[in-house]
């Protein structure tokens, strides 16, 4: 008696499609766009501490897992960032979470809520930007402004370093550095002041891995994400 083959799952069907992908140009549709985007980000972030250049094939793998040729989203939002109400896209473009440091200046100007949602090339850049924003580590540093002039101020009754810094557009850290002997202020004492502000800076990078992409880009929402990503990365390694 002939036995019936078990019905194929969607995963199996997708896998069969992907197995044929190396010979199917549709799956390489975004290669140039990804390479260009990754190159822009690598150049822009090269001087940040601990940055290791992003491999464009990692992004290609994410795009395959996020949308994949054959799904209509492949031609709209390949990186799947920017669905209606997406807080991630908003924080990248308009938030105070580091997006301004991650995005190359030209893309800070070009990317908009509408373009990320409708232009695949912009969606890819927003996705890469968001991934990197989530991989970066940040610190707040006192940074001098363009005006590096040293001013002098005289301590008045009731003054503190913090108050003097605030009034004079500086920071407590810069004031303390310029005035090492000012641990205890005395009325009439003359202090040096330089304009400065506290700014968020990239202090390092989390090592990129499939597990971390799953955690910080997918939010741990899809338990098979890592396995899928690794299947695709393996295929790309074999494609070499």
């Amino acid at each position: 008696m002939a036995t019936q083959a078990a019905p194929k799952s969607g995963f199996d069907k997708w896998k069969e499609g992907v197995d044929r992908a190396p010979g199917d140009a549709r799956w390489n549709l975004w290669d140039r766009e990804i390479q260009s985007a990754v190159s822009d980000f690598n150049q822009h972030l090269a001087t940040t501490p601990g940055y290791r250049p992003l491999d464009w094939r990692t992004i290609k793998a994410i795009i395959w897992v996020e949308s994949g040729a054959g799904n209509p989203q492949w031609h709209i939002k390949p990186m799947q960032i920017g669905v209606v109400g997406d807080p991630g896209m908003d924080s990248l473009l308009y938030g105070n979470e580091g997006g301004n440091l991650i995005l190359p200046p030209i893309w800070r100007e070009r990317l908009t809520t509408v373009s990320v949602r409708t232009v695949p090339a912009h969606n890819i850049r927003a996705g890469v930007g968001y991934l990197l924003m989530r991989m970066a580590e940040y610190e707040y540093h006192s940074m001098p402004t363009a005006d590096t002039t040293l001013y002098e101020v005289t301590v008045k009754p009731g003054d503190s370093l913090d108050k003097i810094a605030r009034v004079n557009g500086s920071t407590t850290e810069v004031m303390a550095r310029l005035n090492p002997a000012a641990a205890i202020l005395q009325t009439g004492q003359v202090l040096r002041v330089q304009r400065a502000s506290t700014q968020r800076v990239i202090s390092g990078w989390r090592p990129l891995s499939t597990a971390l992409i799953f955690k910080r880009y997918n939010g741990g929402r899809e338990a098979t994400y890592v396995r899928k990503l690794e299947i695709v990365l393996e295929m790309q390694r074999n494609e070499k």
Partner: protein, 155 residues
């Protein structure tokens, strides 16, 4: 066997079957992470997984609406004084509204468990949560009205 005894027997069997069916379906209820996993195993891309979860949410809404309608019907047919039938119907309507509010807030919380993930991933969690709660509420309604004795048919 008298007619009234026969009707009683039919009712007892119906209740017992209903209890068995309910217990079986209750065991089959999935939590939101199992719902997400089912779609994740069935579909590869996150876009397709999201579509799958949106469908599960829509299906669960149909299941819940049907369970609510059946609960209303069972209460209407309940062999009880009108005063208590009306009270139960009112309570059912109020609990439905409050449940919808709870579902919105709870599933917003469930979505927030995705942390800083992209919106599509957060929405996957929200849709799975809504599907889970709808199925659970539908099951609760089924169980609550499953033992209501219907009015005897008048001769």
């Amino acid at each position: 066997m008298k007619n009234s005894q026969a009707r009683w027997l039919v009712w007892v069997v119906a209740v017992a079957l209903s209890a068995v069916t309910s217990a079986a379906s209750s065991r089959g209820l999935m939590n939101e992470s199992e719902i997400r996993l089912e779609c994740g195993n069935e579909f590869f891309s996150m876009a397709a997984v999201r579509t799958c979860l949106d469908k599960k949410q829509a299906q669960s809404e149909v299941v819940l609406k049907r369970a609510e309608a059946q609960a209303r019907k069972a209460i209407t047919r309940w062999d009880e004084d009108d005063k208590y039938i009306d009270l139960a119907k009112t309570r059912l309507a109020v609990s439905g509204r409050v449940f919808a509010k709870y579902r919105t807030e709870h599933c917003a919380f469930a979505a927030s468990m995705g942390g800083g993930a992209i919106g599509n991933a957060l929405e996957m969690g929200r849709a799975a949560c809504v599907a889970e709660l709808n199925h659970r509420r539908a099951e609760q309604l089924r169980l609550l009205v499953s033992e209501l004795p219907p009015k005897q048919a008048t001769k």
